[in-house]
Every structure is written in structure tokens, then in C-alpha cells.
Symmetry: C2
Subunit: 330 residues, 2 copies
Amino acid sequence: MLRITFLTAVLLAASLAVAESPVAIAIHGGAGTILPEKMTAEREQAIRAALEESAHAGHEVLESGGPALDAVVAAIRILEDSPEFNAGRGAVLTNTGTVEMDASIMNGADLEAGAVASVKRIRHPIDAARLVMHDSPHVMLMGEGAMSFAEDHGLEFMDEDWFITDFRRRQLETIQADEQAGMQLSESWHSTVGAVALDAHGNLAAATSTGGMANKRWGRVGDSPIIGAGTYADNRACAISATGHGEFFIRHVAAHSICSLVRMAGMTLDEAANQVINETLKEAGADGGVIAVDPQGNVSMPFNTPGMYRASVDGDGKLQVLIYREDSEG
Amino acid sequence: MLRITFLTAVLLAASLAVAESPVAIAIHGGAGTILPEKMTAEREQAIRAALEESAHAGHEVLESGGPALDAVVAAIRILEDSPEFNAGRGAVLTNTGTVEMDASIMNGADLEAGAVASVKRIRHPIDAARLVMHDSPHVMLMGEGAMSFAEDHGLEFMDEDWFITDFRRRQLETIQADEQAGMQLSESWHSTVGAVALDAHGNLAAATSTGGMANKRWGRVGDSPIIGAGTYADNRACAISATGHGEFFIRHVAAHSICSLVRMAGMTLDEAANQVINETLKEAGADGGVIAVDPQGNVSMPFNTPGMYRASVDGDGKLQVLIYREDSEG
């Protein structure tokens, strides 16, 4: 009897500990010149619905005691399948009209990480990144080699046409016409999707997926597949996924910088994320934002652009789906 | 007369200022299981000669008042041409017997950076990285795209055979035979060359070049072309080039971590470099080392392997060419 009682008590204590540990998730679908006057009601509704579905999918994993890694993957897969965002289906087109995608993922518990750069036709590049982390001795694979690896491991491939939307075709035409006319390219033509999560076991994870920069050439790689720049997770500090002008995020090692400010300079998550986005990067002329979560379940989602597609469920279980700057003030 | 005297005084003051500002350079040719008993006298002499030539070439640039960026490029070009090191000519071979190289460079004055990943037949990948930094809006280009960019900009290409040495052919055969026999791969089959410099104007630069990991497949990318991992330079902290087990250097964002410890935790260069190499990475089971220089001209070259090919000319103009661990204690 004593033994059963003891076991029951242990199990009860464990389940209480899980119930009491906060879980939290934040996701983004890119930052940029997102303004109410440029948005149709229909598009806004589709975007809000996809963001909510993604945040819910991730949160469900966390609520049932699942790992943060599973939560960020569940959230990202929905954003990759949604044609509204620059990742997976609906990704931007390269200079030659193809879709070349990047993704990365990181586990805050052991600093394991995986990334793929410039892969084609993989339905869920985030699955490929996770596969690199778990099933290879490497962190980063690129191009044809990464695709062979994904194929050998049974990942789902789609025809290239499946990825390409009319919106992206028209966007590429506009950019290339502007380029021929010698016009400055808009900053809003690179974006990303991302997710960060804290699970009931106190573990953090971060993930990012993107089609990169519209009209890209020369095999350009942005910050999304770069561990430290676009993605970072460390249980001792925070989990970060970035979106914005990737070159600046690489040079300033944005995601890792935020975690370093938390760990080494004693800043709160909000202070650290805001310093990098609204001071360092803003002063450097870089557009963008991040989503961030820390081991206490605090969520921060700063951006220095007019808008950022974002959603979160914080430690209190409160869902927020936000697009414009004014949304934050509500 | 007064005017000429004044001008003379100004020039004299300027030249004194330059003469008084310390300049310093450090280079490496890779870390690993480098032991006296495994080395022939002939090979050791060739390596020492190449290291000395490289350090001298970089130091000459600095002594004549040239920029740190020119110094690191001058030093790396010599190591890339030397068949003794895993970069440019003499680079390791991939799984299919090809040579695929990575390089990166960073300017500490403005945090501009450039990198190429998985390029073939470019004689000096470090020149390609610098070209990306100066002549493109990007930081990182990869594969065929990066090669087109380099070709369009007139960089020198060589036949693939020019890069391949008998030593690397035999090495690949050994590795593949061991692999087929199910043996553990040696840690000594990935290395790098690198250079860091402080110029008379107080600017830092860092650069790294490599053939990556011997027998690599799936488009594996290591830390060398990753800004923050294998290379980082920031005038406010330090310049770093790393060599070792790249996956760990990426996950720990090694180069940027050292600079963060200097900037945020108030460590000396030596303390910060040693913490990352001899504590963080060593505890994680990662072999490797870094070369580091700070704005005061301090040089640090810690490694956690039996040896690291390295050389430096410090702020006092003293040249050191070192290979084994015991060399440091001389």
C-alpha cells in the first residue's frame, strides 16, 4: 500500500509540476511594409486565420506535454503550407522563377541544430532541417546534396508548380520591371515564417523557414538558415526566430546577440530583443523583427517596420493574433 | 617657412601616430592531432616556411599602413596556394573526389562581411568572399551562383586537377576504406586556414578559408563560411578565425561568443578565447582552436588539440611560428 501511495504521490507531483510550468509559443509570418490601406479584408482574414491555426497547433503540442521542438515544427508546417507567407507553398521566386528555400531549427536543451539552404521541391523545409539535426552528424546541408539527403530519408517532395502562386509570379514581374527601369528595390520583398516555444519541461526551441529574397540570384543565402543569425535557442537565455533584411541579421548575429544580452548583460528578454531590433539594427538601416520567448514564458515580438504578422499564446494561455503596429497597443 | 614647418610637423605627428599604434597579425593553418612523431622533418619545414611567409605578407601590409582587410587577404592567399593546408590548392576531397571550398571575411570597422560556400575551381576563395562583401548587396553566396558571380567579376579559375594533391587522394581512399570497414572517422580530417589583423588605424579584420571536411557529402557546410561561427570581427571587441569541428562552432556561435564575452562580460581577449575553446567547446567534445586579436594588439591562439599550425607578429613586432602545444611554452 505504502509503495502504491508513494508512486501515486510522485506521479501527482510530476503532473502538478507539468501543469504549473508555463508553456508559451510565438510565431511570425514576416515583417515589412504591412499597412491597413494596402490590405484587402479577404487577405487579412486569410492571414489571421492561418496565424491562429499555426499558433493553436503549436500550443496544443505544448499543452499535452509535448516537446518545444514538436511545437515549433507543427506551427511552421501550417505556415509553410499556407500560400499567404514566404515559405513552402507561396514562397517568393528567384531571378529565374524557381523556388529555393531555406530553413533552420534549434533545440535550446542541448544546442543541437539543423539547417538546409537553397533546397527545391521539399514540401516542408523545416522537416528537412530537423532531419539534418537528428539524422546526420551535421548542422547545415545545402543545395542538391541537402535534397538527396531529404529524399533518402523519405521526405515529401512536390512538383515545383505546387509552390508557385500567381501572386508571386506577378511580384517577380513587377520587381524585374522595376529593376530594368533602374528603380530601387523595395525592402518588403524578403520575409520569413518562424516559431519559438517553451514547453512544460522548461525546454526552448526555435525554427525559421523561408523562400528567401524575391528575385534572388547568385545562390544568395540570407539569415534564415544561419544558426545565430536567423534562429537561436538556448535554455539558459531564450529562443529567437528573426525576419527582415537578412544580410544585416547575419552581420549582427541577431538571434545570438539577443540571447547573449540576456545571459551576459542581465537584460530582460524584452530589453534585449528591443535593443537589437529597435536600436542596433534600426540604426544600421535594417528592417525586420523577431519573436522571442524565455524560460519563464515571457514573450517579446519587437519589429521596426510598419507591421509584422505575428501571434502568440503566452504563459497565461492568452492568444493574440496581430498584424499592424497599432495592434500591439490594443 | 612657417607653413612648411607646420606641414612637416603635422606629417611627422601623423607618422609617429601610425608608428605608435600597434599592428598585429595572427594566422592559422588548422588544428588537430598534430604530433612531432607523426611529422617528417621535410613536411614540418614546408609548413613552417609557409606559415612564416604568410604572416610576413600580412605584416608587411600592416607595417606600410595598409588596411587589416588587405593584410588578412594577403596572408590567406599564400596559405590557399600552399598545398600543405586544407584550403585552395591542397584542399580535402569530397565524397565524390571533388574540391568544394568555403571562405568568409569580415571588416571590424563597419561589420561588413562576405562569404562563399561550396565553390569549385576558384583559385582564391577568400577573394570571392571579399568580392561578395564589396561588390554585392549580399553577405553569403553559395554553389553555382557564387561561382557565376566570381566569374562575372573576373576572378581567377583553375582546372580542378590543379587543386588536388596526391596526399588528399590517398587521404580520401583511407577514409573511405575505414568507413566501409565501419571504423570511427578521425577528428583530424577537417581543418581550415585563417588570419586576423589589427592595422595602424585601429581597425580589425578576420578571414577564414577551407576545403571543409574530407569525404563530405550532402552539401555539408561547416563553420568557415558562417559569420559568427568561424569568422567574426568587431572593432569594439576582437577579430576571430576558427578551426575545428565546425558543427560545434556553429551551434556555439564560437567567434561571436568570444567577441560577446569581451564586449559584454568584460573579459580580456585571452580569457574569452580560452573560455570558449578550453571550457565551452572542450566540454562539448569539440576539437579546435581560434586565433584572436584585439584593438590593443593582444594576440591569443588557444586550441584544445595536440597542435595547431599558427604564427603571429604581435604589437612589438615579434614573429612566432608554432606547431605543437609545447611550442607555446617556449
